[in-house]
């Protein structure tokens, strides 16, 4: 049996994890015992460039005037999520209050949301965020004082290289985290020493580890020996470099104890296929298939890494405007009367509902345009569902699945075509080991700070903070999630 690149043996090992800890030491928290979660929680942020928030709204069930917290149907664009309805928390009202409070200059409208999406604090420069992002806060805390996973976090992308824009994930103010671009690069992050090894292989790996650690010790000695007077920022940066070396040194040790399997031949074959990028003569269908394959292998690699406990914190970039065009077979359209669109980015700009000034997009009253927008959102929802499916296919050993131990956070940088950053349709999927009460639609007052949501997510991950990002707008954990 093969499920998205995970072998039968690995699945079996995962299923037995609760009773066979000797087989999977790294998959079990050191404090695991009766009554404790089988797996430590994981978090994935699925990052979408933009949304049209109205299309995400759940609808009322038959005979009822409006959707309620527990009585609702998913929006038409979310048909693919129906199998996961009980795993979801859909929201409205949560806003980037930190962006509203940020009076600094910005480079362009997407940067406004992009710099605040995961950091929720004032920008450092027009294009760079001013503090660590929530994924990095969680990753850093989980892996302190010593690392518990081979990698603190992953940020995976295969399309959206930002140009002159700050990144999404920040390890500190102004300091963007590195993305892993492309499936082959991600595949290369799976340690070569995964899986069963012969005694000779184990011996060679141990010797290599000892050599690598000795070289890192030499480097660390040099960091400790820096005598030059440095500014506070420079000293912090070099200290951080040294700490990351110490972490790497410890992570190497973890690598030898992981017994899960690397991605199998089927996934590696799909990656090889994905690596052949369509040329300019390719049809739109061929380009669309390539994008879908890219997301598919990215999601499978991400889930494999979570299952192997290589990392517990991830960001996955969802194909957005431009790339998604080919997936849905987009064609420009002219509806007459000056109402037309030339691309999905253009479509989204014009096909948004009522903005803060009370006006709607120029195509909001054109059914064909709105249907096309729904088609785009549906394609993205299908990709989101695909990821959830992969997580749910992995048994946890106690009747639950990897999805039950994970919280997947659907987020983005803007709410609609007006570049608004309030009232974004955040979605949570998975309960993070029962921390979140799923299967609900929660309406918060517009302006509710997304800082609060991130405090809750951090808490769910075992990171006990009471504030995150700009403290002036953060009120602590978000109510009614548990």
């Amino acid at each position: 049996m093969k499920i998205h690149g995970l072998s039968r043996r690995m699945l079996l090992q995962l299923a037995l994890a609760g009773s066979a800890s000797a087989m999977l030491p790294s998959l079990l928290p050191r404090r695991a015992r009766a009554g404790q979660p089988v797996l430590p929680p994981r978090v994935i942020f699925v990052y979408n460039m933009g949304t049209v928030r109205e299309l995400y709204d759940p609808v009322a069930t038959a005979g009822n005037p409006a959707p309620t917290e527990t009585d609702f149907e998913l929006a038409p664009i979310h048909d693919a999520l129906k199998p996961f309805k009980s795993d979801l928390i859909l929201t409205r009202g949560i806003s980037m209050a930190s962006q509203d409070a940020d009076t600094s200059a910005f480079a362009n409208s997407h940067v406004r949301g992009g710099t605040h999406a995961l950091t929720a604090t004032n920008r450092k420069t027009p294009a760079l965020a001013g503090g660590p992002s929530i994924d990095q806060l969680i990753a850093k805390t989980l892996n302190a004082p010593t690392p518990v996973t081979r990698y603190p976090s992953w940020e995976l992308d295969f399309l959206n290289a930002p140009d002159m824009e700050g990144g999404t994930s920040y390890i500190a103010a102004g300091q963007t985290n590195d993305r892993l671009y492309g499936a082959s690069a991600v595949l290369g992050e799976f340690p070569a020493d995964l899986g069963q090894q012969t005694e000779a292989q184990k011996k060679a790996a141990a010797a290599k580890l000892a050599r690598s650690q000795a070289s890192l010790d030499l480097a660390l000695g040099e960091y400790g020996g820096i005598k030059a007077r440095l500014s506070k920022d420079d000293r912090a940066k070099l200290d951080q470099h040294a700490q990351t070396i110490r972490d790497l040194r410890a992570q190497m040790q973890l690598g030898t104890s992981v017994t899960c399997q690397p991605p199998d031949a089927a996934l590696q074959g799909d990656i090889a296929t994905f690596n052949v990028r369509p040329g300019s003569g390719a049809t739109q269908a061929e380009r669309g298939a390539w994008v879908k394959r890219g997301w598919d292998v990215q999601a499978r690699l991400a889930v494999s890494a979570l299952a192997c406990d290589l990392t517990r914190v991830q960001i996955l970039h969802l194909p957005g405007y431009g790339a998604i065009d080919d997936v849905i077979g987009y064609e420009p359209a002219d509806y007459g009367g000056g109402k037309a669109h030339t691309g999905t980015h253009d479509l989204a700009h014009q096909c948004s509902g009522i903005n803060q000034y009370g006006s709607g997009g120029t195509l909001w009253d054109v059914p064909a345009a709105v249907d096309l927008m729904r088609k785009l959102d549906t394609a993205q929802a299908q990709m989101f569902a695909q990821l959830l499916g992969y997580l749910k296919a992995i048994p946890r050993g106690d009747g639950g699945t990897l999805l039950d131990s994970t919280v997947v956070v659907y987020c983005g940088q803007i709410a609609n075509g007006y570049h608004e950053t309030d009232d974004l349709p955040w979605i949570l999927a998975g309960g993070a080991n029962g921390y979140f009460r799923t299967g609900r639609f929660l309406k918060y007052p517009k302006g509710t700070a997304h800082n609060d949501l991130y405090v809750s997510i951090a808490n769910a991950m075992g990171v006990n903070v009471q504030t995150f990002g700009n403290p002036a707008v953060c009120k602590g954990p978000l109510s009614n999630l548990r």
């Binding site: 820096i226 500014s231 300019s280 007006y418």
Partner: protein, 553 residues
Amino acid sequence: MRSTLALLLPLLVAACTGVIGGAGEDTAPAAGGTGDAGAAGATPPQTVDGQIVVTPQVLRLTNLAYTNSVRDLFPGITIPSLTLPPASTAVVYDNDAIVQAPTATLIQAYQANASAIAGVVLSNLGAVLPCAATSADDACALTYLSDLASRAYRHPLRGEESARLTAAWQTVRAANDLPTSLGVVLEGILQAPAFLYQIEEGTPVEGKPQLARLTGSELAARLATFLWASIPDAPLRAVAVDDRLLQPAVLDVQARRLLDDPRAHESVAHMQYQWLRFNLLEKIKKDKATFPTWSDATGPAMRDATVRFVDHVFWEEGTLASLFTDTHAFVNDALAPLYGLPSASGSGLAMVTTNGAQRGGILTQVGLLAAFGHEQMESPVLRGVFVLDRILCTPPPPPPPNVKNTPPAPAQGDTSTTRQRFQTLHELGDCAGCHKLIDGVGFGFEHYDAVGAWRDTEGGKSVDATGTILGTQEIDGPFDGIVELNTKLAKSDRVANCITKNWMQYGLGIDPQVATEELVAPVRSGLGPTPTFRELLLLVVKSAAFRYRTVTP
């Protein structure tokens, strides 16, 4: 006068929407200028001979400098391909310390690279050891490693560094054979801060307690990093170790020697690639239905041809003005027709002379024109912003959040020109203010379509490529087409200032806020009546900002 002129355009740009504090771009620096906003004016800047001295943050080797340094550390050995995470594009230059984050991915890559490098060096010990590899002993190995560390760290080993190296060697050697031990210590050297970072202390300056003069080795490191993106070679180390390099005449000789070396081309190209946004040439996409001759090979050829052009301008033509007036281009079979030239050179690029009435300089290279355009139509906005941002150093503020900023494509049956559609769109609402500035330049490009080909008509209508440049108080006024605009730019002080500013940013590893008018002006004023790039780089090297630093409290 020059300073006043330089400040006027940013003010105008800032005022075009009233949204952005664009005037801050060239405002006075914080003391020392670390790039952190907020401390401006707290204390007066430190100066030497009237020139401002800044405090660059500790710079990490760029990916290019890392790769080149490894190459030069192990001459004669073929180094395997090294993988490093791509640099942030949130800033103009990759040596801007503000974005140089020590991420887990980066540190892991340094470790993996060091391991791979050690592997190939151990296979070629005969090429590096000062003794026969077959008879190498501890003394020979340690001699080699000490020399390697000295070259990698870009200074003679200090006593404590030498002691740590010896101790590390003895510890590793106690548990390993000699080649293995060599590999381990070599890996450690390649991950040490003195190799990966440019850490400077300087020496005190009499009577100026807040200033430090770089040591010979520190200055040599800056020089080699700037001009070669690599480590100092033996002749440079020789004049650095005893501080002879601090003598202006010796510094001049060495700077000229480095510039004459082929290795300088790579660093210059790296700077120009970033300054002129050539990363956009990596992903040019065009609609094949609109441009049937476009193929997968056209974009890469455009990129290579544009890189070759600026290389030619810098090294062969030489003058700043030639960046706007040189009529050469590099073409192959795919590109020649776009210049209106017969195809003759196959797929390889060959230098040709273009029609001087239609072409001149970087702004009419088909690669740049195609990169600043959309798939089906050209973009006066992107082209105009490029000139304002990278040529005049006055980037306009971003559009307000609530505007539709997608290009106005022609509707069915619409026979309007690109210019007409953009004009109609930009006359609306609050757009007019900024777009008067942006489109005033951008409409001047209307003779070039989305792939950079010349056209006299669009949709049967005569092309209107008249434009107006505003706010410079120097070259303001109307022009017709880019060749006329080029004439203005080629003689502009504002442009020369901008070029100087960019080279100082790159040379010092500082961000635009630190590269103030006050910092740039003394270097700019040293240029002769027909300034050349080579002259400019030598002035940067000789500037106080390059030779001194402020003291960290």
